[in-house]
């Protein structure tokens, strides 16, 4: 316990180094993180609170606390049945677009990433350039040309016009490519081949399990992107029967803005809450895969 003055000086200096075993607390960082946390949670909290209100309370009571009546379940019932239950139809459409679009995009990314990482073929560099270029082009910029293309093929206003463009995920392909590069040792594939496994079996039984964390990450990304997609369906679809939830909710919201339109802000809010629940569940379930996936290959072992 006896410390000489000369020893005291270097002590705080050493503690400035932050290591996983000796984390350094920074009040500034804590406050900043707290602000960001508030910033992201308050809207969610607001949505939760206000979904429990009827339209009357929505307009007359304080926004961040409950109203006089608890009408969440009544609101959910009305949202699901309003206009002949069109919300359920939109939910079904969204699920279809996510399963077919995001599922397909993930499958293609895994296959493509694996092939690019583990096989040599002419034109590989060109493919690399195209993929990197495609990552840089925002989907919004491609939406209008895509519309013209699908219009020429007479595919607009069909579910195909939403599913097919969703199948392409340059970012997912790039991620799988890098991931496969690092997660699958070349020796392991060679060993499998020497043992007499076919290429398909090598992929299916040896490599695919190793790719699982990356696959889940890509699946999560494409799922979120497809679930939230607004602009593509907006320009492709005209028939509300094929709308995803994003478009449908917007239509409900803008309904209040016309002569003769019924203002249903309470249903828009409840619908929004119902819309984010599946995403929240997906995140909670897939999060651990995603985290381990991001860290893989970060340190040479």
């Amino acid at each position: 316990m006896v410390a000489t003055p000369t020893l005291r000086v270097p002590a705080p200096r050493r503690s400035r180094l932050s290591t996983p075993s000796n984390p350094r607390r920074s009040p500034l960082l804590t406050v900043l993180t707290g602000v960001v946390l508030l910033y992201s949670l308050v809207p969610l909290f607001w949505l939760l609170i206000n979904s429990t209100k009827n339209q009357r309370d929505l307009f007359s009571t304080f926004g961040l606390w409950f109203g006089s009546e608890f009408s969440l379940f009544e609101n959910i019932g009305r949202a699901l049945t309003y206009d002949d239950g069109i919300f359920v139809r939109w939910l079904g459409n969204t699920v279809l677009y996510v399963v077919a679009g995001a599922g397909g995009a993930t499958l293609l990314a895994v296959l493509g990433g694996y092939a690019l990482a583990k096989f040599d073929f002419p034109g590989k560099k060109a493919v690399f350039a195209v993929v990197i270029g495609a990552v840089a082009v925002p989907g919004t910029a491609l939406a209008v040309p895509t519309f013209w293309m699908f219009s020429a093929m007479e595919l607009t206003d069909t579910p195909w016009s939403v599913i097919i463009p969703s199948l392409i995920s340059p970012f997912g392909l790039y991620l799988m490519w890098t991931f496969a590069n690092q997660a699958i040792p070349g020796d392991l594939m060679e060993a499998a081949r020497i043992d007499g496994a076919s290429e398909f079996r090598t992929f299916w039984q040896v490599c695919l399990p190793l790719l699982a964390p990356g696959t889940v990450t890509v699946l999560l990304f494409t799922m979120v992107a497809t679930w939230n997609n607004y602009f593509l369906p907006l320009i492709m679809l005209r028939d509300p029967d094929w709308y995803p939830l994003t478009l449908g909710l917007n239509q409900w919201n803008s309904q209040a803005g016309t002569a003769g339109g019924e203002a249903i802000f309470d249903l828009v809010l409840t619908g929004s809450l119902l819309t984010i629940i599946p995403l929240v569940i997906a995140f909670l379930f897939l999060q651990r895969f995603w985290q381990s996936g991001l860290a893989a290959g970060g340190v040479k072992e």
Binding site: R56, D83, E262, A263
Partner: protein, 436 residues
């Protein structure tokens, strides 16, 4: 609009017998072609955002078992027009019939997207409609649609708030400005009205003031906000802005509905379709609101303007024009129209506007007031000769880039209007119009 769809449907089905009878009566007025087409049957697609069209279609199907009508809501306002424009230019994927606001009709006429309905006998219906809406769908000898509703303007005010602060109902625009000042003085949280820049309101007030900022003759277009009518608008609205008498709330937002309910926004000068929106969107304020004539410019005579309102048109790309016209007639002057008026839609047909049953109808929401007295009188006093631009839809979307600035920064309305005028002239030239 106040009903939820399912009871409305049951109710519409119950009335379908009446609808059949009404159709039989109205059928003789149309040409032979549409009737034959209806008997023969077919499928129709209608693009409309108005919820009443849905049950008009059901009533029509009941009366014409061979016909099936699909009503599609492709969006509201601009979304709807973008879809319609795309379908028209692509030449496919469009509807047989589309709802079009009067302010947007010219745009689609010039684009040759709308069918001329005179060959089906639409020209004979001119006398059935109030002049304002009729001018909105016809051009020279051609008829490009039939009016569905109209929006003659009036002053909607919250009597409870007015009484509380001892405010008299303004009869002239000078009174109106005074009332706005008095109300703000009495309670800084209460505004006479709201405005953050609204192209529809601005042009309608100019219209009432006798302004003709837009002149359209074929493809030659004149744009001039220097005329007296436009100036008068500035004389009232500029002080309103300078003295911060306008609630900074955009119309149609949730905040707006909230303000109309809790008394923050005490009045609106707005179209005759507003009662339905008040009843549906602001149920809390039932009994508080009243309707008075639109504030006047001088003692020269009672004058009003239209705001909003829409007709329905048969698309020139439709393969079933005769059948489409038969449906349109049912919706605009036949049994479908009766269903819509009963449901609270403000009619464009003179017979309904003058019908004692309509005029003397008492509205519980408005404290039992016979509001249609005021609204029908307004319909008869609409200043005639008003033109919208052939690209009014575009014009309204860029309104806030220039005129809207006057509401949020130091520029004046006059400067804002001059900016809007420049933008609209430049755009018109780009689009191939001759600008005078």
């Amino acid at each position: 609009m106040i009903h939820s769809p399912s009871p409305r449907r049951r109710w519409a089905a119950g009335l379908s017998v009446a609808a059949v009878a009404a159709l039989a009566l109205s059928a003789c007025s149309g040409g032979a072609d549409p009737d034959e087409a209806a008997a023969e049957g077919g499928e129709l697609t209608v693009w409309a955002w108005d919820p009443t069209i849905e049950y008009v279609a059901e009533a029509y199907e009941d009366a014409n078992p061979e016909v099936s009508v699909e009503v599609v809501n492709v969006g509201t306002g601009n979304d709807h027009y973008t879809a319609l424009q795309n379908a028209a230019s692509a030449g496919s994927g469009g509807p047989d019939l589309a709802q079009v606001e009067y302010q947007a009709t010219t745009q689609f006429i010039l684009g040759e997207a709308l069918a001329d309905l005179t060959e089906f006998g639409a020209g004979d219906l001119a006398d059935e409609f109030a002049p304002g809406p009729w001018a909105g769908v016809s051009s020279d000898e051609a008829v490009y649609g039939l009016p569905l509703d109209s929006g003659p303007m009036a002053l909607f005010y919250n009597e409870a708030v007015f009484d509380e602060h001892g405010i008299e109902v303004p009869e002239t625009w000078d009174d109106y400005l005074e009332a706005a000042r008095d109300l703000q003085e009495a309670d800084p949280d209460v505004y006479l009205t709201n405005d953050t820049g609204d192209a529809g309101l601005t042009t309608s007030i100019m219209w009432q003031a006798g302004g003709h900022p837009f002149t359209v003759d074929g493809t030659s277009v004149g744009i001039d906000f220097g005329d007296e009518g436009s100036q008068r608008f500035g004389e009232v609205w500029q002080p309103m802005i300078d003295e911060q008498l306008l609630a900074p709330i955009s119309s149609w937002s949730d905040e707006w509905y909230q303000g109309l309910g809790d008394g923050t926004i005490a009045s609106l000068v707005i179209g005759a379709w507003m009662p339905g929106n008040l009843e549906g969107g602001v149920p809390d304020a039932a009994g508080d609101w009243r309707v008075a004539p639109m504030p006047q410019w001088d003692d020269a005579g009672f004058a009003t303007a239209e705001q909003g309102g829409s007709g329905m048109s048969v698309m020139s790309g439709s393969d079933h024009q005769a059948l489409a016209y038969d449906f349109l007639e049912f919706a605009a002057v036949g049994g479908g129209k009766d269903l819509r008026v009963d449901d609270g839609v403000f009619p464009a047909t003179t017979a309904d506007l003058e019908d004692p049953q309509f005029v003397e109808r008492e509205y519980e929401y408005f404290g039992g007031q016979q509001i249609n007295q005021v609204l029908s009188e307004s319909s008869a006093a609409v200043v005639d000769g008003w033109d919208y631009l052939p690209y009014q839809v575009y014009a309204n979307t860029v309104f806030n880039d220039s005129v809207g600035q006057a509401f949020v920064s130091g520029t004046t309305l006059e400067e804002g209007l001059a900016g809007w005028q420049d933008t609209l002239r430049a755009y018109g030239e780009d689009q191939g119009f001759t600008i005078e």
